[in-house]
């Protein structure tokens, strides 16, 4: 369980993303139509984009506080990032990709990652020969080997064909439960969000339109239908902490 403490605005030309989430969770799912700002939210947490205002903290570790002039450099953030296209280093083989991080401090043992993500037969392969699902698993291992405090995943199932999706979902559950690394991931698939996430955030056009427990949140949106920005936010209450989502103005 990690405390996600986000309240920031990201401005990019015409587009603005207002992202306000305060919740204790093991996995957050960001859900919404293309161009709604999901990837931008992940990249802001990773430090690849700088918000114009606000604060970002994960488990009490402050990453950004614009007012206090805090902006932890990307390489010191310990936010593992797995982009949708994985961006495995094409000149390195799988083993050298996975073990790229040289960071001091706690991180999972390589053999634990190899077992969890079923990488043993892949370790000496060139990344160009991997399938979509294999690339995802390698990219997850590479990010996890850097000992992140949170793992950010951008549509980990997008490039994976249907029969192999189960394997990725199991990997996500393993990362969440065995390794205890909290997740924030972007998805288009409600069933994936229901299996892995314990908090769902629905974004449309740069605004959080609803947040809450995944099932209730999706149900309130009419059986997982495409998001409609006119839908009213759902209220959700949890005993341990007064999570709230606000419709950002």
């Amino acid at each position: 369980m990690a405390a996600f403490d986000f309240d920031f605005t990201l401005e990019q030309g015409e587009f603005a993303l207002a992202f306000k989430v305060h919740v204790d969770a093991r996995a957050l799912a960001l859900f919404g139509p293309s161009g709604s700002g999901k990837t931008s939210a992940l990249e802001t947490v990773a430090g690849l984009r700088t918000p114009s205002r606000g604060r970002i903290a994960v488990d009490g570790r402050l990453l950004v506080d614009i007012d206090a002039h805090v902006n932890v450099p990307v390489r010191q953030r310990r936010t593992g990032y797995v982009p949708q296209d994985t961006l495995l280093f094409p000149h390195l083989n799988v083993r050298d990709n996975v073990t790229y991080a040289r960071r001091e401090g706690a991180r999972p043992d390589l053999h634990v990652l190899v077992e969890l993500l079923e990488l043993a037969p892949l370790m000496n392969r060139q990344v160009g020969s991997l399938s979509g699902g294999e690339r995802q698993r390698v990219a997850m291992a590479r990010a996890l080997y850097s000992g992140p405090n949170v793992l950010l995943l951008d549509e980990p199932l997008a490039a994976v064909d249907l029969p192999r999706r189960r394997r990725i979902v199991e990997a996500l559950l393993g990362i969440r439960d065995q390794l205890g690394v909290p997740l924030i991931y972007v998805t288009h698939l409600p069933e994936e969000a229901l299996t892995v996430a314990d908090w769902a955030i629905l974004i449309d056009n740069g605004q959080i339109v609803a947040a809450g427990r995944p099932r209730e949140t999706f149900e309130a949106f009419g059986s997982f239908g495409p998001l409609r920005s006119a839908v009213r936010p759902i209220q959700d209450e949890r005993p341990e902490r007064s999570e709230r989502f606000e419709r950002s103005e």
């Binding site: 430090g47 990307v74 390489r75 990032y81 280093f89 991080a101």
Partner: protein, 219 residues
């Protein structure tokens, strides 16, 4: 083949290799700066680096002669510590490096521009500092272009004539290169010698292109 011809071939090859080595580090550094950074005077640097491509080589040679002669601004400084460049083998290497540099910089710059910034960003998220990002991600991904640029620079150095003859002359056994030698032998009616140098030039150029193609495939 006479000893003189053999020495010219060996000297030219080594001078061109030395020129390539001399231009490699500053050339790659300038290419990276131009591809990745904005800084005051960037367009001036761009222009200066490309100048030898556009200027007549003889004019570049004259400029170098003026800069590095004993009374020139840089030559005077070097003379004070006992270094004399003009009309020495070092002048050959310098002329070759100056003429080859633009080709290296342009090709390497295109290579750096082709490396998507996102690979570098991913390396940063994995904790890599600027030098590690450059040496383990940017440089290897741009290696093919840098190599191609180095081969182009080497080839340019090998055939350099105009700047070399002005700043280094054509001193037999000291500064005479293949290109300068062909000219000098033809001028003095030694056509046979010139023809041998021509054949050597073709052979070295052929080998260089072949080697670069093979290297490019292996990178």
């Amino acid at each position: 083949m006479t000893a003189e011809i053999r020495d010219i071939a060996i000297f030219t090859t080594f001078a061109a290799l030395a020129a390539t080595a001399v231009m490699l580090v500053p050339g790659v550094a300038v290419a990276w700066l131009l591809a990745r950074r904005d800084f005051p005077g960037k367009s001036l640097v761009e222009t200066l680096v490309s100048l030898p491509l556009v200027m007549p080589p003889v004019a570049t040679g004259l400029l170098l002669l003026w800069l590095f002669s004993r009374r020139g601004p840089l030559g005077a400084l070097l003379a004070r510590v006992g270094i004399d460049i003009v009309f020495t083998p070092a002048a050959v290497v310098m002329a070759m490096a100056v003429m080859g540099l633009p080709l290296l910089v342009r090709t390497a710059r295109a290579g750096f521009e082709q490396v998507t910034r996102r690979y570098e960003q991913i390396a940063e998220t994995l904790g890599a500092g600027p030098w590690r990002v450059f040496s383990t991600v940017t440089l290897p991904l741009a290696a093919r272009n840098i190599l191609a640029g180095a081969v182009l620079g080497f080839s340019r150095a090998l055939g350099e004539f105009g700047a070399t003859i002005v700043v280094a002359g054509s001193i037999p056994g000291r500064t005479r290169t293949l290109a300068v030698g062909i000219y000098s032998f033809t001028e003095s009616g030694q056509d046979e010698q010139a023809a041998v140098l021509l054949a050597i030039s073709v052979t070295i150029a052929f080998a260089a292109v072949l080697a670069s193609n093979r290297l490019a495939r292996s990178v």
